[in-house]
Symmetry: C2
Subunit: 347 residues, 2 copies
DNA sequence: CTGAAAGCGCTTACAG
DNA sequence: CTGAAAGCGCTTACAG
């Protein structure tokens, strides 16, 4: 055990009391004589005695580890790092610790990590990795294990979640581009079995339709929701004969990749091609990047996620899933999409 | 308990065996008749029974939680996010989970987090937050609690660590600037009670001296090791009457702040001022940023840190601290510091 | 105010 | 191959 192998009985012996009494002072039970209490406290301090948390949990009626698990695609992605910080802060505030795992979007890794976490005994799980159909999460749900989904949802509504209105965010930012007089707008987006990608694509399409702009399939690039996709997608899009004048990067991380490609092609943002992202990570606000994007407030999303999870852990829900929050995204306009009515870009 | 409240005895009852036997199959003890084993395994699968990890740990001779704690300044800082990923990957590989905490460099937060982690029972701790004199770490060391320091060291050598040769990295990159014909070089760096900041400052100074360039105190900006410092420091430096022609940002994160300031002042990198950083985060390689920097390989540093920690956990060291690794940093030259022999910048 | 006893869910000699 | 028993370190009625 941390700090030595003393037990409650050792302390008891030294204090000439039963271990029961020591346990009482450890648990701030009032019915201990002030005098004996002092004696025991002194010993505890002297040896810096720490009761074994596991034995403690085991012996207690309500069995909690005060540990929550967090599954996310990649902690290096600034979007998730920010969210993780919100989760961490809120959790610690309530006396919980958080274990995190980066799955790289691979179901088999999720599976392995969840097993690992279960083995160490987490009280609940936060998933930022849900796909539309996710057997792991569905199983956990069926077992009534406490979980909450953040950012990404399953199909349906039978679970607790906190997400952003991705449809609206995408709709708005696409509309913003259209108002700036762009008509040829490409999009580079994650796979459609991820709710965020799916909804953003829908929002983009709807905005085009509402403005009588045909949706071109060749302007849509799908792939893994990673930076590399932005790079490859932009290369493809920008080398078309009839290339887009603007690109909607499905996330800031993807937009990072787009920027690399644009520079490599010797082009300029926004003169040759406008660019918008989604997430508003720290990167986007950099004065050299100045990416127009959609702010989700992922820190807050993380906080809300933990808050809900802790509620569920404390009182497991009877049946219906009542915790659902949909956050309002907000467009952050910067220079990466040029100026209003600037006229068409080269093509 | 996760997945239901079944115990080993429930399973035993159903299988008509003693709970001892069930425990045996759970622990892959070979001396169980194939037949009974199958029967039990079937039951375990059927009910998806999971033994309580805490009871398990409690009952075992060697008491391990397979949990390690990680203290770092801020998970949102890409440098630490990358390191965390290295730690996570290596830990999971060995069956460990990692709990992380962002301290924002505040000793009182470290203290609180470590208490929290101790309560949940971590087997060891990785610190990326050490200061030269750090009473918390020193106490843990005295208690022989398994810990390893990464990136930042205490004064002295009585502990295990994996760090980079910050002195050399800073020396080399400063020398690089000098070879490019810059003589007025400012530096924006963290507080000198953090080993990385201290060593980098020393490296910078030595490089200047070795090239007969006087060290000017007014070209040195100290402060908290954060992005904001870069912004403020650059504003200060660049508005001096006799301003530096080049700035050494003590970390990429600081360099990010410098870039913001430079742009805000309407200046250009590298024409008006050259810039170098330290860390080589993803941000720096972006084609619009192109920051010359020092690559530390923090992912690998994280991996090595866990590896050492696990070794120490498995066999606590007799006395001397034998795990010390110093990694060689490497300069990554990009365009943020202009071209060789380009002549002096404006001033 | 205090202690003896039972019990939390599991593992592991020990003895068949 | 299998089981009864002791024990891990702690908490908590129950009975003084």
């Amino acid at each position: 055990m941390p700090g030595g192998k003393l037990t409650i009985r050792d302390i008891a012996k030294m204090a000439n009391v039963s271990h029961t009494t020591v346990s009482r002072v450890l648990n701030k039970d009032s019915r201990v004589r002030e005098e004996t209490k002092k004696k025991i406290v002194k010993l505890i301090d002297k040896y810096d005695f720490k009761p074994d948390p596991r034995a403690r949990v085991l012996a207690m009626k309500v069995r909690k580890s005060r540990l929550i698990g967090l599954l996310l695609p990649d902690i290096r992605n600034p979007f998730y790092a920010e969210m993780a910080r919100g989760i961490e802060d809120k959790a610690n505030e309530d006396g919980y610790n958080v274990i995190f795992c980066s799955t790289d979007g691979k179901p088999e890794r999720s599976e392995a990590y969840v097993n690992l976490m279960m083995r160490t005994g987490v009280d609940g799980l936060i998933f930022a990795t849900a796909r539309h159909h996710d057997s792991l999460i569905e199983r956990l749900l069926k077992e009534k294990f406490p979980i909450v989904l953040v950012s990404r949802k399953l199909k349906g509504e039978s679970f607790n979640y906190v997400v952003f209105d991705n449809f609206k965010g995408a709709y708005d930012i696409t509309k913003h581009l259209i108002e700036l007089n762009y008509k040829k707008i490409g999009i580079i987006i994650g796979p459609s079995n991820i709710s965020t990608a799916y909804d953003r694509l829908k929002g983009y399409q709807k905005a085009l339709k509402d403005n009588d702009i045909p949706v071109r399939q060749d302007y849509i690039v799908h792939g893994p929701f990673e930076k590399q996709l932005g790079y490859e997608g932009a290369k493809k899009l920008l080398q078309m004969k009839d290339r887009p004048e603007a690109i909607f990067g499905g996330s800031d991380y993807i937009a990072m990749g787009v920027i690399d490609a644009v520079e490599e092609l010797g082009m300029h943002i926004p003169n040759d091609v406008a660019l918008v992202g989604f997430d508003d990570t720290e990167f986007s606000s950099n004065k050299k990047i100045n990416l127009t994007t959609v702010s989700q407030g992922e820190y807050r999303m993380g906080q809300l996620g933990v808050q809900i999870l802790i509620e569920v852990i404390d009182k497991p829900e009877s049946s219906p899933y009542t915790h659902k929050v949909i956050l309002e995204p907000q467009i952050i306009v910067r220079e990466s999409c040029g100026h209003k009515l600037r006229g068409k870009a080269a093509d």
